[in-house]
Amino acid sequence: MAATATCTNSLFYGLRLPPLSGSRSSPKRRAAWRPQQVVLPVAKFELRTPPYALDALEPHMSKQTLEFHWGKHHRAYIDNLNKQIDGTDLERKNLEELVKFSYNNGNPQACFNNAGQAWNHDFFWSSIYPGGGGKPDGEVLELIERDFGSFEEFTKEFKAAGVSQFGSGWVWLILKDAKLSILKTSNALNPLIWGYIPLTVVDVWEHAYYLDFQNRRPDYLNTFLDKLISWEAVAGRLARAKAFVNLGEPTIPEK
């Protein structure tokens, strides 16, 4: 995810033994032996642009916010992550693997914060869209009504989670044990580390809304649900999740 491979050369001694003396090797041949150079691909994460222009979410999320949030904060997480993993084995993991690995079951490694935030922000930009917001339809709506009672109940619970996340963090709609539920995480944590499937997210770090809403986080959450959230993205992620999760009783067609 958001990774381009750049090739670097590394020397690989391993099992390449020099030729033994014998009929097939002459002194000239033995002298000419050099260990083989093997090219190993390593990943440098790149900042991927959101799937819309930076001013496309106006007036609900200003261009200035995108310029700082994506252009400075998100970029810094990526740049600092690359610096941290440079020259280590962690370079060979993709971002999702890196997040789960560096979380280290609750004793996070140094790069976890940057890795988690890099992943979270990528997911966030894909979770909002110009002309977004409103009510979903189809299977997403069905599942919301099944697991929350009603769409109104879902929005109420989602906003309550947003305002009660004390400090920095994120509020997620996730698929957990084949049911939809709301999860709030602090700082860089995300549902991947616990094996849940995220469907959408809202960033409630203050930098996400302070320029547009200042302290008014409830207004920001309303705007997110009314004007920004991409239910298409949720539907797409749900469809992919169904490859791994059985959401209900399978319908066996007759004949």
């Binding site: 004390f166 400090g167 602090s186 203050e206």
Partner: protein
């Protein structure tokens, strides 16, 4: 048997008076406890007094909105606490009490820790605090550098503090997450710098190190010294 019961029922006049007085005092105490709500303290300076280090817009929002919200939230949580005896409810209220109460305590200290330059803001400390800083950190500049670096490294929201280990009377630099008060680490708070994004974002945006570089121009070391001396 009946006589004993009658004796128990008959109270002395004094006893009755004491009981009645006790009842009234108890009722007044309850009213006092219920009336005792936290109040947003005034800033000891105008909203624009810390310009250009911290803008008036930030000071106004920080004080009238953020700190006020902590006060309101704390009072509300305490009211709910006082009106219940259900253990589950009581435990569930703890995070709201800690968060809002901590926010109130921390910001009340913060406003006093700052002062406009014409009222001593930025002037280096003197006396006991100055010698303690020198012996613990080497110099004021080294302490400032340490606090700035530590503050810049806080992940998410929190505070960077100059705290006092009481029994050893030793200074230490420490951080707390979210609105945890420094007392939760067993230290006495002397100077706190708020590194929540709301403390600097409108002016410094993502560049927290710039905020931390400049905030020292308005730190009221006299207040810090007072806290040190009275600890």
């Amino acid at each position: 048997m009946a006589a004993t019961l009658l004796m128990k029922k008959m109270r002395s006049g004094a006893e009755t008076a004491r009981t009645m007085l006790g009842f009234h005092l108890w009722r007044r105490g309850l009213k006092t406890a219920m009336r005792q709500q936290e109040v947003l303290p005034d800033l000891p300076y105008d909203y624009n007094a810390l310009e250009p280090v911290i803008s008036a817009e930030i000071m106004r929002l920080h004080h009238q909105k953020h700190h006020q919200a902590y006060v309101t939230g704390f009072n509300k949580a305490m009211e709910q606490l006082n009106s219940t005896s259900d253990p589950q409810t009581i435990v569930a209220l703890q995070s709201a009490i800690n968060f809002n109460g901590g926010g109130h305590v921390n910001h009340a200290i913060f406003w006093q820790n700052l002062a406009p330059p014409k009222e001593g803001g930025g002037e280096p400390p003197e006396g006991n605090l100055a010698s303690a800083i020198e012996s613990e950190f080497g110099s004021l500049d080294k302490l400032i550098a340490k606090m700035s670096t530590t503050g810049a490294g806080v992940q998410g929201s929190g505070w960077v503090w100059l705290g006092l280990i009481k029994d050893m009377k030793r200074l230490t630099v420490e951080t707390t997450a979210n609105q945890d008060p420094l007392a939760s680490k067993g230290l006495i708070p002397l100077l706190g710098i708020d590194v929540w994004e709301h403390a600097y974002y409108l002016q410094y945006k993502n560049v927290r190190p710039d905020y931390l570089k400049n905030v020292w121009k308005v730190v009221n070391w006299r207040d810090v010294a007072k806290r040190y001396d009275s600890a």
